[in-house]
């Protein structure tokens, strides 16, 4: 590796929620590399602006041995091959769909053979790999400990994800980012706060590596690729075919933008229609019984339905990584109540029978919506999806 002249790193993140975080990671990489006498630059992908919250977006850092090398690497408006890809929310390993026509792409897509994929996650490498698309070339998966950090737009709540990631990078790219330099850079960025140095060291020590061979990973994710019409095929006046009533837009499915998804307890549902009425993404379909089932392909996981549902724990938001498909679930409830209910309990950690109270090991309000609503002062670390804004 000693002869390499530049290194490129991308940060894949949830648009807006993690924009500041991605910026800080890219900047700290360059700052640390400069301390070694390298040069570098950090930039965002134009195509992701304007970002929409939740929708995957990318930022980059390129570090080079000298200005000439940097300019040569920067001639590409966005690197299509990177040495390291960093996903700051583990649900992104299910694939990335930032804008239409790209379709859903495997998270490892731009990672070069034998490159690295760093994922911040509380889960074990094998659990994360089980949700990552089947590898087409070998790479190393690194798990940087920590939940998804939803640092907000204007107010950055520092949880040191950036410093932990920097520590992990020092471990895999020591010739570009030396641990000492990473620490010095973090101290500078944190304005002298020594705990930043500890976070870099923690990222360095606690990041676990797992070699991923060709063919490892899941083939369970939907292929979602579209053919671009090209401007010569577009109808005059740029006319776009309207959708038919009852149809959903097949070109953009929202699940790639989701970190949580709702599960519904049809037994306790009082058919009030509120979830259907207030869902900004038109996800609910009425069943012959008058229940409302979620079409998971359309759900962006905002959590509004869980918030507006008047019945406690009737809609529970659940970590996206617990699911392996996007199939609607009402059919299962229809054909096998008890099987559905145990699925509901398993996913939500909430008893399907409200009289019984909580089930399993998960506390009763695993639902972050309910949690944050009833306990607005909750520890943000315990509830990483709490807005950065003003709750405290």
């Amino acid at each position: 590796m000693a002869e390499e002249r530049s290194v490129s790193i991308e940060v894949v993140y949830r648009g807006i929620f993690q924009k500041t975080l991605a910026q800080r990671i890219c900047r700290s990489v360059v700052l640390a590399a400069r301390k070694r006498g390298h040069t570098g630059t950090a930039f965002a992908r134009y195509g992701d602006s304007p970002e929409r919250n939740g929708v995957p977006a990318k930022q980059f850092a390129v570090v080079a041995a000298d200005e000439l090398e940097l300019e040569a690497s920067m001639a590409k408006y966005e690197p299509s091959v990177v040495d390291v890809s960093i996903a700051v929310d583990d649900t992104l390993v299910k694939g990335v769909e930032s804008w239409a026509w790209y379709g859903r792409q495997p998270i490892w897509k731009p990672v070069r053979a034998n490159g690295w994929l760093l994922v911040t996650s509380d889960k074990k490498p094998d659990e994360v790999l089980a949700q990552t698309d089947k590898a087409e070339r070998p790479y190393t998966l690194g798990i940087v400990p920590g939940g998804a950090s939803f640092a907000g737009l204007w107010v950055y709540k520092d949880d040191h994800t950036d410093f932990r990631v920097l520590g992990a990078l020092a471990k895999i790219l020591p010739q570009w980012i030396a641990l000492d330099d990473a620490k010095a850079a973090s101290l500078e960025l944190a304005k002298g706060d020594q705990s930043a140095v500890a976070s870099v060291q923690y990222g360095y020590d606690a990041t676990t590596m797992r070699r991923v061979k060709d063919g490892e990973g899941t083939s369970g994710h939907e292929v979602l690729q579209f053919k671009k019409p090209g401007w010569t095929k577009m109808r005059p006046g740029v006319i776009v075919e309207a959708r038919k009533p009852g149809e959903r837009n097949p070109y953009y499915k929202k699940y790639g933008a989701r970190t949580m998804r709702p599960v519904v307890n049809f037994d306790t549902c009082i058919k009030c229609t509120m979830c259907w009425l207030d869902c900004p993404d038109e996800c609910f379909e009425v069943t012959p019984e008058g229940h409302y089932e979620v079409v998971y392909e359309a759900c962006i996981g905002c959590g509004i339905c869980a918030q507006v549902c008047p019945v406690k724990d009737c809609i529970v938001m659940v970590d996206e990584l617990k699911f392996t498909d996007n199939k609607d679930k009402w059919q299962l409830w229809k054909t096998d109540h008890s099987k559905y209910n145990s699925w509901f309990e398993d996913m939500s950690g909430v008893s399907a029978d409200p009289k019984k109270g909580a089930s399993g090991s998960v506390p009763p309000n695993a639902n972050p919506a309910a949690n944050a609503a009833t306990n607005p002062g909750a520890d943000p670390a315990a509830n990483p999806t709490t807005s950065a804004g003003g709750d405290e």
């Binding site: 038919k244 900004p280 962006i300 003003g390």
Partner: protein
Amino acid sequence: MTTEIMPAQDLPQIKGVKDVPYDELFVSGHRTCQGCESALVMRHMVKASGPRTIVLGSTGCMYVANTTYYTTPWVVPWMHTQLGASGSAALGTAAGLKVLMRKGKLKNEKINVIAFCGDGGGADMGIGAISATLTHKDYNCLVLLYDNESYANTDIQLSSQTPYGAVTTFSPSGDKKRLMHTRWKKNVPGMLAAGHPESRYIAAGCAAYAVDLMNKIRKALELGGPTFVHTLDPCPKGWDYHPQYSQELGHLAVETGIWPLYEVVDGVCNLTGPTRQIAEGRKKRKPVYEYLKRQGRFAHFIDEDVEHFQAQVDKMWTDWLIPGVIPFTVPAKDVAILKIDKKPMHEQKTA
């Protein structure tokens, strides 16, 4: 020559949530943010107006995020309209339809025309065209201003609808100046209602009160002529809160009295929903702090800012001619003027 007004569609008022039309005319597959209330406004807007509707959309989130790269969530005909041109587009389309029908080139039919715009496109750039449209009483069209209180699509710049003190990319909070933006939000529906006697319907709504909003849209379309509806739409991206709270913030905006719900029908102002209950003293206004503290864009506020905000809202409720709507007060010496004999001239008593 008398101008002939086109007949409008019969759009009966929706009695409750169970009465809301089921069919979606704005379908899933738009790339708006998680928890985008403006998207919900689009959905409710066409749900209320029905399939025989033409929608025109001014540039902004609801154009860019809805119709990107050759794909669309619209089931009804929809056309992209220049930023600031919603008023002209509404009027032009209504006039065009009328002529085509008169000349027999189009089947004589009742078609709704709705042009929407953001607060940047409507309250700032497009206000002149909207104002002009509202004076042309012989054309049936509705302008809907969806207000996310910023130029959201271009990443949250200040608009005339941005609330006092809020942080935007153009008004960050700094060490020297905590509040970069200190103008009070422009009262668009109040101003349009006061200035456009030809418009039979002008209203302020919020998607958090979905039935109320849909009924306002229906009433606007049914009364005909040029009409205007303004909605307040919580925007998780620009207001900086977790998307799950969108509905709640809509409720809080109304319950704190910051965003009063009302309609002005043929010059008569009705307060609706909780706003009416507050005005009648059946419900207490919540402190504005309840609303402000939930949003990152106000996270830099200190007590003094909150107090100022509260005082301004209080003034809207206590000093205005109609609470939260018409910003006039009457000097004590002129209170009698309000009791002026309003009967027709020939019925008035002579002293």
